[in-house]
Amino acid sequence: MIRLLAALLFWACSAQAQLAIEITGAGAQRIPIALAPFAGEAALAPGISTIVRADLERSGLFRGLELPPIVPEPTEATNINYAEWRSRLADALLVGSVQPRPDGRFEVRFRLYDVVKQQALGGVAYTLGKEQLRATAHRISDFVYEKLTGEKGVFSTRIAYVVKRGNRYELQIADYDGAGAETALASFEPIISPVWSPDGKRLAYVSFENKKPVVYVHSLLDGKRHVVANFKGSNSAPAWAPDGGRLAVVLSREGGSQLFLINADGSGVRRLASSSGIDTEPRFSPDGQWIYFTSDRGGTPQVYRMPASGGEPQRVTFEGSYNVSPRISPDGKTIAYITRNAGKFQVALLDLSNRQVQILTDSDRDESPSFAPNGRMILLATVINERGVLSAVSADGRVKQRLSATAGDVREPAWGPFIE
């Protein structure tokens, strides 16, 4: 594993958040990019170029170049001297400006250049209030990332996770980098298994607030929520169908943990599979055709899949005696899961086309893997010194990040979808 520890420590500005991110490792080929400070960006701290640089470097695919002070500060309107930027070893260049407006808002403009091809790749202008600084910077990062890698960036996406402090549990929603955390639900009983609806507006989760596991669907914008599954026994492990109208859930109402389908409004429950063992942790494939799940029907916990319409399950994992928590990549080609490897619980990635398995982490107790919506990174919870922290690993295992809260146990992460 590459240990080019490049790192960057980044503190979220929100008083609630305080998740710090540490990055180790990097992609094999990182694009050297010059991010000139946006002219006038000191008026909006932290500077937009600083946030964009942190975003891009966190992806492991970019390397921000150290630049000497440039006078006069370049802006999106400056004529670009490509030879000069090339001499600084930049493949790409981002320049921009921030200007206060009379109404108290700001105007931000930027332009991105391909220094090698000597061409402009475009730019955007925004007006914004101070509170949209980070959201705007993340949009600029998404623009740069997509132009230079050909893939969509995830800098404007959000994550959900559960923080436990003392006997208090909070389901929190934060930007993908842990900044701007807000509490969606607070409880004195456990909250587990949050999953984002495909439209990113709702979460399904299991809350023990009535002293038993009950599945809820919760609308983030207005806090409205409803019970989806509160049958006798346990109600657990919700998974959204790609259509957003149905969920797979695990119910013990007929004895033993078994898979069921239920409408998102709680109606129309029907059994999906029958097993002599425990079936749990369902997840739909992105095309909606398959449900992957964990089952010990064969004697040890392994990943299986079955047609979403019902039918005969097929075993998916064969290496090792403990493979659980399957998550299908957004392109449907690989699954991430937790495997027991020499007594440690680590994230593994299985290529469904050639059956190759790669172990991505070197930690001891990983849980709850969750793909970024572009499939590049996998967010997970891991236990270090008896405390749950979030970390992330790239799907090729090269880039590792750790997001640690200053206090409390952080668990059950779920990376949200792209939001248009």
Binding site: L128, Q132, A135, G223, S325, I338
Partner: protein, 154 residues
């Protein structure tokens, strides 16, 4: 099905004591607007309303269940590793609760002997409710337990 090692089974009875939740109004926030003439890129803030489910439900109406001198106030049954047999030392406890349920048909709870099926609900709490978090056999033994809760106690 998670990567930790110490099964804890707490069995509780169920009753519906819905907690009140009062969502707060989301804070209004202005979207970032695209500048006319530039490629429009509307950036929306995504406020999250806060729901508080920290309210506690009220206690059981049955005084005997709370009297520390009454065996009915004892609610934990401990198990040996990977075993589900009720050990002899807990039989009188189980029988006392079974008798209470037979005599109080409206009470709902878990029991192992002689209660009506509709009086009982069993729930696995997995690893979520350890009473002890040390890495010792004493501690693991405390987590291998059944808790008994009557309606109104949860």
């Amino acid at each position: 099905m998670r990567a930790v090692l110490f099964p804890l089974i707490a069995t509780s009875l169920l009753f519906l004591g819905a907690c009140a939740t009062e969502p707060e109004k989301p804070a209004a926030s202005a979207p970032v607007e695209a500048k006319p003439g530039a490629k429009p890129q509307a950036v929306e803030s995504k406020p999250v309303a806060r729901v508080d489910a920290t309210g506690r439900s009220t206690g059981s109406p049955f005084a005997a269940l709370k009297d520390p001198n009454n065996i009915l106030s004892k609610r934990q049954i401990y198990f040996d590793y990977d075993k589900f047999e009720v050990k002899d030392e807990f039989r009188s406890l189980v029988e006392a609760h079974a008798k209470f349920l037979r005599e109080n048909p409206s009470a709902k709870m878990l029991t192992l002997l002689g209660a009506r099926e509709d009086q009982i609900e069993s729930v696995s709490l997995g690893e979520e409710k350890p009473v002890c978090t040390d890495h010792s056999e004493d501690c693991y033994a405390k987590n291998r337990r059944d808790d008994m809760l009557y309606s109104g106690e949860y």
